[in-house]
């Protein structure tokens, strides 16, 4: 009897807890109705991480660059086709005969979001700040084409020696080290954006850390920034080309999990979501599904410090010994394509014929398992071993793991006597091991810093920082060096020389390319004209609009 009472007591408590929970739910439904408003020129998007920095000199990552590309503007910006530079703060420019001096004329109606005009001095200040070693900007190197930039950054020259000068309020003169053909495109990159000296000095260390401690001169402004949670872009009324901008608002929410993103997409909270391979099969037939390719190439670094990988035949065997097409179709499943090259497809076009670099240079390796087996056996014999164990240094992401597992199995089957061990490491630790050369072969990737094949090819010059695998070929070095110096005046020839260099790389089987990354995503059909870029910020909303 007494026991029963206590049980009853306990049940009442449980029940009341549940009732309380249910009450909450009812309240929620009504809230939802209120929140549903008529969608106008508003785009709701997910972002994978918080904005690390809104300081254009300090920013280093895709998220920051993407936001900056929409709320700030350099001399030029990448246009509606995604890659041709179009007018930004600069109205026009003149190039000197030797291609080393650029004179930019700034437009008179370019303004900061606080109403002050954008002047040539803003550029001079920003650029000097970026290369100043005291700023410790991690992207300073992108400015090294500007005269003296590298030396200033190394502390060999004072900052005022930088080859940039404000002739007057609206005229900017830039001296280059070499006549790089892609300089105009470079000016669309965040590190080259102007900064208002007075404002930046005033904000001190707070600059770029909050929405109101940053100035904007782009099509939008960052109107709200709730750290790690959300941020909002609003149309900038002070923008010189405000009439082109149709979107009123872009609301970003920070969503790190793809499944969550897909659920939000399905409940109409966001208008676009990038998909992992797991979701592609489900949505492939949907009309909201599409894919695009990025100019990022993934490849295996083959460290020639290793006694077997020093052998060219062994490297060739690893290059040929696995099926890339099947891998790309089944495991990545996101629009990626097999890479048989280093310089990606649809990235750069020839200076004269406008033909894609890839079309001209074609595939430089092919999968041939029988040949791989043969070469491998010879390599083992030459090195004098029967079997060999290779450790594959890997990223720690799920898809990288899958990829490594696949390659391990494929290579072990094709190459007799080979054992592959997979060693996943957190990103920073992995990079550290690579920098130290403390690995056998590794899963690596590279995206471009500027729109030129050099950004890829330059990686493998002897003792280059990014070589990291003791690859060295004097002929290759020579071609790269020439393309950086004397051939600057003969662009078609430079083009050929870069193609030649890429071929040499593959004759030596220096690396084993894997794939060029693709992205799969879902996007509402009413979101139109979001422009995708190959370098710098990923997207431009300047021309985007909603049409229902």
């Amino acid at each position: 009897m007494k026991k029963r009472f206590s049980l009853f007591f306990v049940f009442v408590l449980v029940l009341s807890t549940f009732l309380a929970a249910c009450g909450d739910k009812d309240a929620k439904k009504e809230d939802k109705k209120d929140a549903k408003e008529e969608v106008k020129q508003v785009l709701n998007l997910p972002e994978t991480s918080e904005i690390p920095s809104m300081d254009s000199s300090l920013a280093t990552d895709a998220v920051s660059f993407n936001v900056m590309n929409n709320v700030m503007e350099g001399l030029y910006r990448l246009g509606e086709d995604g890659q041709t530079p179009t007018e930004g703060v600069a109205e026009k420019h003149e190039v000197s005969e030797d291609g080393k001096t650029y004179t930019f004329t700034l437009r008179s109606d370019a303004k900061w979001s606080n109403g002050e005009p954008v002047t040539a001095n803003d550029f001079v200040y920003a650029w000097k700040r970026a290369v100043n070693p005291k700023t410790a900007a991690e992207y300073a190197y992108i400015m090294f084409d500007v005269k003296n930039a590298a030396k200033i950054n190394n502390g060999e020259l004072p900052v005022d020696q930088l080859g940039v000068k404000a002739v007057d309020e609206k005229t900017l003169e830039v001296q280059l080290e070499t006549a790089v053909p892609y300089f105009i495109s470079l000016t669309s990159f965040a590190t080259f954006y102007p900064l208002n000296e007075k404002f930046v000095t005033e904000q001190g260390s707070k600059h770029g850390t909050e929405a109101n401690t940053t100035l904007y001169n782009g099509p939008f402004t960052l109107s709200e920034w709730k750290h790690e949670q959300s941020f909002q872009l609003k149309k900038n009324a002070n923008y010189w080309d405000a009439k082109t901008v149709k979107l009123e608002e872009v609301n970003y929410s920070i969503i790190k999990d793809t499944a969550t993103g897909v659920n939000l997409y399905e409940t109409e909270q966001i208008d676009r979501i990038a998909l992992d391979a797991e979701y592609v099969d489900k949505y492939k037939s949907s009309e909201e599904f599409s894919t695009y390719q990025e100019p990022t190439v993934f490849f295996l670094r083959l460290n020639q410090k290793d006694k077997l990988l020093k052998n060219k035949k062994a490297r060739q065997a690893i290059n040929m010994g696995w099926d890339k097409q099947l891998f790309v179709d089944t495991i990545l499943n996101n629009g990626s394509i097999p890479a048989n090259f280093l310089v990606p497809e649809n990235f750069v076009q020839g200076p004269e014929d406008k033909k894609d670099f890839r079309d001209a240079n074609g595939d430089l390796v092919k999968t041939d398992k029988a040949e791989a087996t043969k070469l491998w056996k010879e390599a083992l014999k030459e090195v004098g071993v029967d079997s060999y164990k290779l450790v594959l240094l890997n990223y720690d992401s799920e898809s990288a793991k899958k990829t490594a597992e696949y390659i391990k199995e494929e290579l072990e089957q094709t190459l007799p006597g080979l054992t592959v061990d997979i060693k996943p490491q957190p990103f920073q630790q992995k990079l550290d091991l690579e920098t130290k050369g403390d690995y056998q072969f590794s899963y690596a990737g590279w995206g471009p810093d500027y729109p030129d094949p050099m950004t890829f090819v330059d990686m493998f010059v002897t003792d280059g920082t990014h070589n990291q695998m003791e690859y060295s070929n004097p002929k290759f070095d020579e071609l790269v060096k020439k393309s950086k110096t004397e051939l600057m005046s003969d662009l078609p020839k430079r083009w050929e020389s870069l193609q030649e260099a890429e071929k040499i790389l593959f004759e030596d089987a220096a690396i084993a390319p894997m794939f060029q990354r693709g992205r799969a995503y879902l996007q509402r059909p009413y979101a139109k004209n979001i422009v995708k870029h190959n370098f710098g910020g990923d997207f431009s909303f300047k021309w985007a609009y909603i049409e229902k």
């Binding site: 807890t17 300090l58 005291k134 929410s253 790190k256 409940t267 920073q428 630790q429 990014h466």
Partner: protein, 309 residues
């Protein structure tokens, strides 16, 4: 008692100092640098940047510098979030985590104690088995699976609650539920075990013999005694819950501290690692202290200060 508390306070500061020191040196053992763009930097550039942040100095020098700043209350600035102060970042993140943790702890403890008590009172009956099954399911389904299922069925299929994000109270319900399941399971298991033990003890028999009502026995005698080990696990659990859990925060897009912490370890954001560690440890030590004091209040037989006597 007063002297005991003072002594404990001294030890707490000392412990915190040890943790800070140990973590600092362990953290410096992690390979890699906090640079964000390391992949693309040249060796010279890396030097320039490391120099600016003083990361080229020997670790003990860096340690002394850090401790000096720490004593002045300066936790430094983040490497990843350029120029943002660590204390600001922690301040922003702790709110959502603490709210979720607190809600989950309240609901979880309450239901857990109830469930565990019922199971004990009805030992070896279907009620007991039922509550065992509930609590076992609670710990045997990984939290990310549970969270994903909740999100999908309640958020997408039924549309009762928002799928994710952090925009108000209704957004906290699903993550709270997902978090509390684990608490329910843990608490109810311990409660059941202890309750069974207590219910068979002599003083309960005596109380029954004296004719005290069933609920009186349970509330006044059994519950109080059975709560001791539960409190032992509740302390650390509270700290863990309120400082955030990566999985729940990631899946429900909650801007919490747990996610932040794992991220900063992965990218070697030294100042944030240290900041969160100090914050977490201080909280933890405090809770342990409170639990020890609570011991004495709940069970007067435990005399902490006296030792053997």
């Amino acid at each position: 008692m007063g002297r005991y508390v003072l002594q404990r306070l001294f030890y707490m500061v000392f412990t915190l100092f040890l943790i800070t020191t140990l973590t600092f040196f362990l953290m410096k053992l992690l390979p890699g640098s906090p640079l964000q763009n390391q992949e693309k930097l040249t060796a010279e550039q890396r030097e320039v940047i490391l120099e600016k942040y003083g990361l080229n100095d020997p670790v003990p020098v860096q340690y002394v510098r850090y401790m000096k700043n720490l004593v002045q209350g300066d936790l430094g600035i983040s490497f990843k979030y350029d120029n943002r102060e660590v204390s600001t970042i922690i301040g922003e993140r702790i709110g959502p985590s603490a709210q979720l943790g607190f809600q989950a702890l309240m609901i979880g403890t309450l239901i857990g104690i109830l469930l565990g008590s019922i199971a004990a009172l009805r030992h070896n009956t279907w009620v007991d088995y039922g509550s065992t099954v509930i609590s076992v399911l609670g710990i045997s389904v990984p939290s990310f699976v549970l969270a994903a299922l909740l999100q999908y069925y309640v958020g997408v299929e039924l549309r009762w609650l928002p799928v994710a994000m952090w925009k108000g109270f209704e957004y906290t319900i699903l993550p709270t539920l997902a978090l509390s399941v684990f608490v329910i399971a843990q608490v109810s298991r311990f409660m059941r075990t202890e309750m069974i033990e207590v219910l068979h003890s002599d003083y309960i028999l005596l109380a029954r013999a004296k004719g005290i009502s069933g609920s009186g026995i349970i509330l006044k005698h059994a519950l109080r005694n059975a709560l001791i080990p539960v409190i032992t696990i509740l302390g650390p659990m509270a700290v863990n819950l309120m400082t955030g859990t990566l999985v729940i925060e990631r899946i429900f897009a909650v801007p919490g501290l747990g996610e932040q912490f794992v991220l900063s370890i992965m990218v070697n954001d030294y100042t944030i690692i240290m900041g969160i560690t100090i914050f977490y440890s201080a909280l933890f030590i405090l809770i342990v202290f409170i639990v020890d004091i609570l011991y004495g209040i709940i069970d007067p037989r435990i005399r902490l200060a006296g030792g053997k006597s």
